[in-house]
């Protein structure tokens, strides 16, 4: 084996090591979720097989709170993503097309601040406001909150994607007499749809994963899946099998999305830096 082949081989082995390290916790959680108490509490860990059972999933799925949390999560994620991407795209259009209006700089500043601010800083006053307005434990309130806190991601991603479209296209459309709004809906949006897809998927992932806001702003009525899943550790005796099953149910949609549209998600994650 010559030197460069050896280098390539060792690089591959190192990557393989990190690959296994990255996936093992997921594998182990999945395995635990499929096991009975006996195997879960085995003194010597069994890395493969054993008696596999769906009992843990059955117990989680038969829990009414799980079903309502799942429904809430889907409802809030879909609507919040829609609002955030819609509002973000409109703002991004103005920012991307070099508009030099007065509110530009303050808007950008607030986007940066919002991106940097820990959720709890907003959650404390939001809790008081929501209680005062009688919107505590209201799914719609969560939709608006999620949409707002993910706005920086929608705006920045869309600015990058819109800037990728040559401005000449718009200019010639304008010569042909199209109004600005028509240009946006008929020309820009169709051209930017893959970027729009990447932004939507990324913001949906952030919304699905959100924990702090529903923990503070909601109770049983609009409890979301992460809050339900997190609830397993606060009970005195932890049912490890059911806890693992709940964790798996929470990440299954993400795993599916990752497998189906990984490229889009990577574009979002890398803030548009990775194009592919």
């Amino acid at each position: 084996m010559n030197k460069s082949k050896l280098a390539r081989f060792s690089a591959f082995i190192v990557l393989l090591f990190f690959f296994i390290g990255s996936l093992f916790p997921i594998y182990w959680t999945l395995l635990t979720s499929l096991r009975d108490r006996l195997d879960i509490f085995a003194k010597v860990p069994k890395f493969f097989g054993g008696n596999l059972t769906l009992e843990n999933y059955r117990s989680v799925i038969s829990d009414e709170t799980f079903i309502s949390s799942l429904k809430n999560s889907v409802f809030i994620t879909v609507l919040a993503t829609f609002v955030s991407v819609l509002v973000g795209s409109l703002a991004a259009y103005a920012l991307a097309r070099n508009g030099r209006f007065k509110s530009r700089r303050p808007f950008e500043s607030w986007m940066i601040l919002l991106r940097a601010l820990p959720g709890i800083v907003l959650a404390v006053p939001l809790y008081q406001m929501v209680v005062k307005l009688g919107l505590y434990d209201n799914s719609w309130a969560l939709v608006i909150c999620y949409a707002a806190i993910n706005l920086p991601y929608s705006v920045w991603l869309m600015v990058g994607f819109i800037q990728g479209i040559p401005i000449e296209i718009e200019e010639s459309a304008q010569i042909d007499g199209a109004s600005q709004f028509r240009i946006l809906t008929r020309i820009i949006l169709p051209l930017v749809r893959s970027g729009l897809g990447a932004t939507t998927i990324f913001v949906a992932m952030l919304s699905w994963n959100e924990y702090l806001l529903p923990l503070i702003l909601a109770d049983e009525g609009s409890k979301t899946l992460p809050v339900y899943v997190g609830g397993f550790v606060t009970s005195r005796t932890i049912d490890y099998g059911a806890m693992a099953a709940a964790a798996c149910l929470c990440i299954i949609p993400i795993a599916l999305v990752t497998l189906l549209v990984q490229k889009q998600l990577i574009r979002g994650l890398s803030l548009g830096a990775v194009k592919e």
């Binding site: 990557l15 860990p45 819609l86 601040l113 959720g119 010569i175």
Partner: protein
């Protein structure tokens, strides 16, 4: 077409009609975004600011102005200084692990070996997972009695480690889990940065007889620096924001060993029910982000 375009330029005092129009109407597109910001960010922040000078808590609604008392109390609170220290330790240690490791992995992936596309997908997986689920997974594995990590140590005749129950190992566990989830982010952005470096300066250096190490040290690293700066900035911000998985993994414990500034703010507000004090801490956190914020403005976008 060409003649039409000329007319179009002539009609708009030296600038294109396009630019002239958006200059006037651009702000209209921002109205919905401003409304969202107003409701969920501006008003709450203003509310937080005013209540930080009052004696409000979750019990009494008619509060009085008490000046800087809340701020004084926070600065006298040993919990605040401990949380600050914890936040700095978690931030610093995470950076020390994630930046070099992420760079190393990016360099390996950039070699574009056969089969590494699959390996890359696997390595990215933790980045996408719900932080709450991540906390649960590691709690499962780090359990002192029946966790798989101690089980494996036991198989090799090694003593069990109290991953989450001991002050020092708990903070290391938090850093470990954070690195498990987020090193892939560093890797991803640096990989994108590496791929965007033009080939010509690298080849020129090689022609001049530079070794691989010299090429990295003198050509690639300087070209990668702007991306690396953005990555460091984002990672620092994210480690200050850190809440979800710590809350699940240790809830800030044992005692207050892993209670960072976000968790402390949560405690002030929702365990001690000192709303005004929580608001004041929120203002302190916001102000302390100023350097990050200015850096971000300079780095332009992202």
């Amino acid at each position: 077409m060409r003649s039409q375009q000329k007319q179009f330029f002539e009609r708009s005092d030296g600038r294109t009609l396009k630019k002239w129009q958006i200059r006037k109407t651009g702000w209209v597109y921002l109205i919905p975004a401003w409304l969202l910001l107003l409701a969920i960010v501006l008003v709450p922040m203003f509310f937080s600011f005013t209540s930080s000078f009052s004696d409000a808590n979750l019990m009494n609604s008619d509060s009085q102005f008490i000046g800087f008392d809340n701020y004084n109390q926070i600065f006298k609170d040993s919990l605040f200084w401990e949380a600050t220290r914890t936040t700095v330790i978690i931030s610093g240690m995470s950076l020390l692990i994630q930046i070099p490791l992420g760079f190393f992995l990016a360099v390996l992936l950039n070699m574009e070996l056969r089969g590494t596309a699959l390996l890359r997908s696997g390595i990215l997986m933790p980045l996408l997972l719900t932080p709450v689920a991540v906390g649960l997974m590691w709690r499962l594995m780090m359990n002192i009695d029946n966790g798989v990590i101690n089980g494996t140590l036991h198989m090799f005749g090694l003593p069990a480690i109290d991953w989450l129950g001991d002050r020092n190992s708990a903070i290391l566990s938090v850093i470990l889990v954070d690195s498990w989830q987020n090193t892939a982010f560093v890797m991803l952005l640096l990989l994108a940065g590496l791929q965007n470096i033009p080939a010509s300066p690298i080849e020129a250096a090689k022609v001049d007889g530079a070794s691989t190490f010299q090429v990295y040290r003198h050509v690639i690293l300087p070209l990668l620096a702007p991306v690396a700066l953005v990555v460091v900035m984002i990672r620092i911000i994210e480690s200050i924001k850190l809440f979800d998985f710590i809350y699940i993994l240790t809830s800030g414990g044992p005692g207050t060993a892993t209670q960072n500034i976000s968790l402390l703010d949560f405690r002030y507000g929702f365990t001690f029910l000192q709303t005004a004090q929580a608001a004041a801490l929120g203002i302190i956190i916001t102000l302390s982000l100023t350097p990050m914020y200015l850096l971000w403005r300079r780095a332009n976008r992202i």
